[in-house]
Symmetry: D2
Subunit: 344 residues, 4 copies
């Protein structure tokens, strides 16, 4: 259920609607729009009677939402959401570019990475302090030490920090240090972690699970929004199929599909999406052309010495070329269409 | 690395090997066998020199293990493991049969379920008190109240209790109440949860992830064993493919594949594996014929009124038929082959 | 559209219905049943008016068929079809067992294979004279020479011959020599070949395509039936998924699914379905337990010297064990259920 | 085996090499290059001794080719191949754009389609006269009548004609009328049809099969080249996966992967690749950005009245927009990289 307020509705009108929702035992979500505000209702197990709200002052209409996801839906909020990560808009006029190594390996490595991202015109730095690894015997990340290096890199370069929280234990520290909390593909349906991320004060970057349908992907985002955190960036990173020429199959058609169904911005990870260095540039360009709001790309000062994912990491020079090419395509599309990249 | 002791090695010999492993900064795992004991080494990032151990008293040989998984490997432990859940052997002479509803819905429902399982000759009762749900707005389980009902069902029937822990928060309570902790498919690579399960005092039932390779499945089990809990039951529950005549594609060939590579018992969930009530019986029979050590089957006293998964739940009569048919096949195979069902 | 005749309808009544169908520009298909005869109508691009037939003498009712497949549907013909291959019933009381090498390699090889199949109690001999190969540079089969050797093997042993027709050129010869024409997985949607097989005088064994849905599989069979050949045996042989522990993923749940939707018998090929010798026996047992009407299994007198598929071929001893075990399971199921294996 | 000639080798030197190959019972394939000519050898079942050729006059070296595909491999021919379809280069400086309806439905429809393609700046017209349909009861195409309409459309507009041959029967007529013979996804491993196409005088457009690996795709092309027709255009059209937001999953990473391994041009079909009209434009742009040499797009003068595939067909206005946007991206990439679009 979505209660759409009239354009001229006052804050008091909106407050009254929220109060009424709470009295009924449900949870209100205020969704500001350019023209008018809507109030989403969650927590109801069955349908709610629109008549409960249509007589309240300032209410334009109360409409049933037909999809299983509500708060992430474009039905609920027609305008595209711009998520700000340390002031960097994701889903806005320009593509957002996030680069950096798979894992924070040392102070020197992450500072060198940050300088390379900055030099290439990137705005965000990635790097894992906590790494989900298939083997219990593999390097699991530097932990808080890694977070401190990331913070230092931010200080030196001004880049916003994107780093992964792998469980409800580590997320407190990640929330403290990072500008954006990444939820990895393996955790896309770790519902406890999603709920906790929904109570975080920082934006969340949610990666699509390896065999996730679009509906499951949006429902995972819904978990975060339903707890009150509306700053969610979706990320396609390849799905698992029979195809063996790439590590995963990058499913770029999910980009326009998300943009039709949801107001949330979607970016692409062409590094995990292909798993091969020489495929990263062409698939990055393709992502931007398909309408992605940004890219998250693995880059390492010395890929051949990386502790993990070296085979899919660009070096600084390749990253700079990627950044330049992607911006050129984004600029071309914007100039021809006269609409922001992140919009429909 | 695996240090294989001579048949006549003394406990003191074994203790010395363990001490040496710890001195080197690694972790020893004592693996008792019928003929002789082996000591697994984990925690080493690179290869360990066999010469470190081959001169110690009582050591037969020190061998490199070629697979990324060590403790779960049949190379490490040639004899099939029998896991006991409240005294019920899984992986032993007979098939283990676990039945019950998707979710614990009420005291009456779970007690009726338990009586039906018992009447059909089942040994274990399933039922979720914590439910991982795709939608944040769906029924999420009764929590500890559900666990109490399960405990009461155990008291009344003597059945062992299998129930899911969905996160590191709920696992403490689940460990207290249950006889076997289930890790669901969505959490197969929730490594924090796996580590915590590895420190639990109860056996663990680990379900294969929806797009998990066999190696990833075994590595997830390795996480549990690497923390000291060697009582792990693997469970095939269907994988995600293009096929649309069943909810998932039950991949029964993983049963003999697991039995070749690992000593751990593997059972099958034909309910989630097919997602359709009329496919459960034939696929249960097929599972036993393929060599599964047991079955976990959704059964509800009144499937048409189930809060979840009703379309794939058997009623008590169908469950009793399934139990009887499966036992007949298991008995036939045992009589013809003169080997325990769970063995190679 | 399906015109169902009354139980007491005469041949003349049926002939009149067929004539009326032809007058309307469609094609009649007489489908005899135990209780009464039905006449299927194909060739209509849109719906046909039931009133055209309901007034004719001997007609019980004219019903619309809701599935895209008509002639293969159980709605059209409720009784299970038994297909006879050189007198061997497939879909009847007992499981049909077909064995033999991937390819006919020499006279000696195929005669030795035939003797081994016969000795194990198998009824049908497989062996490719025309081989569809991924590489144009691989052995493509002996052609007619191979067919002659198969015919000689039949003479010596009495086994029925199942061999593949790879194109509309080779099918004439295959039809002459073979007792059952195999259409391979790669040709499941080679519609010209299907139509030609539909005009053949011999039964057809149709293998499921590597990424075929159940509906596409049944529609491919419908092509054959729509040309007048109602003797079609379906065959599950594994589908293509991400799973890498087997060459293909054997989708056994398609067996009960086919039996619900279609009257045609379905058998299983556990050799291609797994691609590994040590998985063939357990999956063969599982197939029979799941309700398959038979098996087609690769067996070679000397697998280690086979020109193709040696890694998945059984030797004669392993084949004999498989035959014996499978018959035991089929016998058990029949004795407990008191229904023919091939029936629902 | 590949015999690489010296730069200064004479035609007589090359002829002698070919003769020697034939004497050995193999087949020579002359592959002209910019710097020097190579002669491929096929027809050998095992390895050939390089010494057979290295002493011949004009021979630089004889090298073993490590991939199962030979003639399609970039190892064999480092320069990218440009295929000319009625004078239109595919794989050259500019992207080739092919548009038109799924099926030829009438003279008016195909002439209107051709005019719209021409007006949008497209160079090639598509349209099926023979349609492979899942159901035997669906519209199967106009046959030769459809081919005549296509020929008339070519006369009126000068567009090259691309149309499908579905079997070895129809390919003779298709070869007569068309400028490029399409082999559909379902026929990608119809080896008889591939061989026949390899003897055709016209270029071939080969679509990737629904569950084809890259290696199988290239081997299918190898079948065509091995018969002497080197004018093959590869086409990605989506593969089958679990994802359900699009009809198929367009696997764009195959574009750079093909360009690394093969000299053949690869184009993309975003219409079948997505199966939804509103995804065609973004995925067309993505295809060009990923490096595709061209596009084949379904366009219908009145999509809502199309006999097939209307839901994924653009109207003429949408097609013109697509053409203009794609050319702009191609132009941008060319200007920045200073290399032809079709090159590496």
């Amino acid at each position: 259920m979505l209660v759409v307020m009239k354009a001229q509705a006052s804050p008091a009108d909106i407050a009254l609607v929220c109060e009424r929702i709470q009295v009924l035992g449900f949870r209100p979500h205020i969704i500001p729009g350019e023209q008018r505000t809507a109030v989403g209702i969650t927590g109801n197990s069955g349908p709610v009677d629109p008549a409960e709200f249509e007589q309240l002052h300032g209410v334009a209409e109360a409409i049933r939402v037909s999809k299983p996801y509500k708060l992430v839906s474009r039905e609920t909020k027609p305008e595209s959401t711009v998520v700000f990560v340390k002031g960097v808009p994701v889903g806005g006029e320009e593509i957002a570019l996030c680069g950096g190594p798979c894992a924070v390996e040392s102070r020197d490595q992450i500072l060198a990475s940050a300088r390379a991202v900055k030099a290439a015109g990137g705005q965000l730095l990635r790097g894992g302090a906590y790494k989900p690894r298939t083997s219990p015997y593999s390097f699991q990340g530097l932990g808080e030490e890694g977070l401190r290096y990331l913070a230092e890199a931010r200080e030196q370069t001004g880049l916003g920090i994107v780093t992964e929280a792998v469980d409800t234990e580590s997320i407190d520290l990640v929330e403290d240090y990072a500008d954006c909390i990444q939820i990895g593909a393996r955790n896309m349906q770790n519902f406890s972690l999603l709920r906790r991320a929904g109570r975080a004060k920082k934006p969340v970057l949610l990666k699509r699970g390896m065999s996730s349908t679009l509906e499951e992907f949006l429902m995972a985002a819904e978990y975060i929004l339903s707890e009150g955190n509306y700053n969610v960036i979706l990320c396609e990173r390849g799905v698992r199929t029979f195809a063996d020429h790439s590590r995963n199959t990058l499913d770029l058609s999910v980009v326009p599909a998300v943009k039709t169904l949801s107001h949330l911005p979607i970016i692409v990870d062409p590094s995990h999406g292909t798993g091969k260095r020489d495929k990263v540039l062409p698939m990055a360009l393709a992502s931007v052309a398909a309408g992605a709001a940004g890219l998250i790309v693995e880059m390492h000062p010395a890929p051949e010495r990386a502790l993990s994912d070296g085979y899919q990491s660009l070096d600084p020079e390749e990253f700079a070329e990627l950044a330049s090419e992607c911006r050129a395509i984004a600029e071309l599309l914007r100039s021809r269409r006269r609409v922001p990249v992140g919009a429909l």
